[in-house]
């Protein structure tokens, strides 16, 4: 691949490993800061809250065996790291004998699908709006309308979600407010099901898109204004290049680069915010599952989900980092 140097690749991959390792370590440390043996403490808390754990003796035995809880902390840590990265995170406390990984892998596709679509749409729309806001050639009526698209920028996505449900589902009765699909359609690759899934995804996706769009637009506007002030813009105009060519090849092409970097940083917070959006819409993804895990005091599932979220975000950032040199040749040129 053009522009990918070995050093860059190594550095980015190092960051990827570091992110996952740090995340895992934090998840390992937190429960151990609480006093006592983690498993019995977990079960104790579960029972004190009125939960009933079936086969709890068996659960504890299997647990101790897998984590080596009778052994010193550093061995526990190594075992934990090994088990986690081999996707063997043990059993769910609330749905024993189902394993954490099975439960999560069932809900993961829903989240990834909706999240990727919503993030891409908000990125494209937001940058388009921002670029047009800053561009001198934008027709006046369009320019005066653009700021209205930023109304929802500062509101958390899940709050907008509540308002969207209220307006579109309860008042206007236009779109479904909960779930990923209707019970009456049969899941599978048939058009009826896909259409149904899409209808259910509109409101949650809209909540994320409307909120996220604005920050991209504001960032893009700033970059575009800076690009517009550069000498090469004057030169391009003097050469008689068309307005469209200057906008795309000279303006947007340069202004979009920091935005892609910002996307890498934002993915983590987008994913975090999405957890709550899912819960509001009872969307059958990982966020709703996390909420149920909290309600059931299912700490193993909870930690598993958090691990998956960290890995998912790290992978997204890695992919972004690896494509970055392709759109910005300077990244690799600097090294030579």
């Amino acid at each position: 691949m053009r522009g990918l140097t070995g050093k860059y690749l190594l550095k980015r991959f190092g960051m990827f490993v570091l992110t996952i390792w740090l995340g895992m370590t934090i998840i390992f440390i937190i429960p151990r800061l609480a006093v006592g043996d983690p498993t019995s403490a977990l079960l104790g808390r579960l029972m004190s809250k009125g939960g009933n754990v079936e086969n709890s003796a068996e659960l504890i035995a299997r647990w101790k065996d897998r984590f080596g809880l009778d052994q010193p902390l550093h061995i526990q840590y190594v075992r934990y790291l090994y088990n986690t990265i081999t996707f063997n995170q043990g059993y769910s406390l609330s749905a024993f004998p189902a394993t954490v990984d099975d439960l999560i892998q069932r809900t993961l596709p829903w989240t990834i699908g909706l999240l990727v679509v919503a993030t891409l749409i908000s990125f494209v729309l937001g940058n388009a709006i921002g670029a047009l806001m800053a561009w001198r050639g934008t027709p006046r009526p369009v320019k005066s309308l653009l700021p209205f698209s930023l109304v929802f920028t500062s509101i958390p996505a899940f709050m907008l979600g509540i308002l969207l449900i209220w307006v579109f589902s309860l008042t206007l009765n236009l779109l479904p407010y909960a779930g990923g699909f209707d019970r009456k359609v049969s899941p599978g690759w048939n058009p009826e099901f896909i259409l149904n899934v899409a209808r259910h995804a509109i409101l949650p996706a809209l909540a994320v898109v409307l909120v996220r769009m604005g920050s991209w637009a504001l960032g893009m506007r700033g970059m575009m204004i800076t690009a517009d002030g550069e000498d090469y813009m004057v030169m391009a105009q003097a050469k008689g290049l068309s307005s469209g060519r200057r906008f795309w090849k000279y303006g947007v092409r340069n202004a979009i680069l920091p935005q892609v970097t910002a996307l890498g940083v934002a993915i983590g917070s987008i994913a975090g915010g999405f957890i709550i959006v899912e819960q509001i819409f009872s969307y059958p993804g990982i966020g709703s599952q996390l909420f149920r895990a909290i309600q059931d005091n299912d700490y193993t599932l909870l930690q598993g989900i958090v691990f998956y979220i960290i890995v998912g975000v790290a992978i997204a950032v890695l992919i972004l980092d690896l494509t970055y040199p392709l759109i910005d040749p300077r990244i690799s040129l600097k090294k030579n």
Binding site: I165, W166, S269, I280, I310
Partner: protein, 315 residues
């Protein structure tokens, strides 16, 4: 030339001075309106206890399901009770007075945001300065750590922490939030320090023998102020967003009502579908005011820091 004219006409001189002062980039409509909005929200801290008894924010302190005072057409089948001026914003299904909940919850939310962001900003600025000045491996370690922390979804880890630390107090909540609030200011300040270091006036100060301390605080700090202020408002918003997120999921402080906890209660009791908009509405209105205020301040401060953004506005 202007000095002579000014001498001859003192009122005109005063006018020019006033104009010059009003021309200051800090007099920015967005910044000021955002600040005013937040001040209005913050007055709940002072006037809240005068308007309503905070005890009414506790479970069972009031009759349940009272509608707000201006509602005349309500569904009695749902168990809603007629409006009552003692509970102007109505009450929810556990017998909390909504006005009290909002007036007690809002200052708490603001406090967590301020505590978390202040500590995050102080630590983040210090690290940003150190990274920018020291360079070398120190810089590599700090910026790598900041990048990694930015990648890890803070909310996800906060959820794990909050699920173990039951009964969190407001201050502890703010401290935990600070763990995830420092990387953003670190990055911003480091980048600014690196670019300022190459400026003529800093090199001149160094050549004339100014100490590193003087360069940091006397030469650089005034130039960094708008950036610091912008990352502060942005960080407050991030911290409040994370706090509300954790609370909406049903974690965090549970003894005293917070805005996020109220939204969580409303969701759990299906308030949206039962038509009890006065349950989830008031906390959301308060939060929207807070977020809009912070947002206006952030973009106002961005314009203070970056004169180019100002020019376009006046075009």
């Amino acid at each position: 030339m202007s000095a002579i004219t000014a001498d001859q006409n003192p009122p005109a001189q005063a006018m020019t001075r006033l104009k010059a002062r009003l021309d200051s980039p800090w007099i920015n409509a967005k910044l000021i309106s955002g600040l005013l909005l937040l001040l209005v929200v913050a007055t709940t801290e002072l006037f809240g206890p005068l308007i309503v008894d905070p005890k009414l924010a506790l479970i069972g302190s009031s009759p349940t399901n009272v509608v707000p005072f201006w509602v005349t057409n309500f569904d009695k089948k749902q168990g809603f009770k007629a409006p009552n001026l003692e509970h102007p914003l109505g009450t929810e299904s556990k017998g909390r007075d909504m006005l009290a909940v909002v007036l007690v919850g809002t200052p708490r939310t603001l406090r967590v945001g301020l505590i978390g962001a202040t500590i995050g900003l102080i630590v983040g600025t210090a690290l940003g300065f150190i990274a920018g000045f020291a360079g070398g491996w120190v810089d590599t370690v700090i910026s790598t750590l900041a990048d990694v922390m930015l990648t890890i979804p803070g909310l996800a880890v906060l959820i794990v922490i909050a699920s173990y630390a039951t009964e969190l107090e407001i201050v502890n909540m703010g401290l935990i939030m600070a763990l995830f609030a420092w990387p953003l200011p670190t990055r911003v300040i480091r980048a600014q320090v690196l670019s300022l270091r190459e400026h003529g006036f800093i090199q001149l100060a160094r050549l004339s023998g100014a100490s590193t301390f003087d360069i940091m605080f006397k030469e650089m700090m005034p130039n960094l102020l708008p950036f610091l202020a912008a990352s502060f408002t942005e960080t407050v918003a991030l911290v409040i967003l994370a706090t509300i997120g954790v609370e909406t999921l049903g974690l965090g402080p549970t003894r005293i009502p917070t805005l996020g906890m109220t939204i969580n209660n409303a969701l759990q009791q299906a308030a949206i579908f039962r038509g009890m908009w006065w349950w989830w509405g008031p906390p959301i209105v308060m939060l929207v005011l807070i977020f809009v205020g912070l947002f206006l301040m952030t973009i106002g401060l961005d314009e203070v820091a970056n004169p180019r953004l100002r020019k376009v506005r006046t075009q």
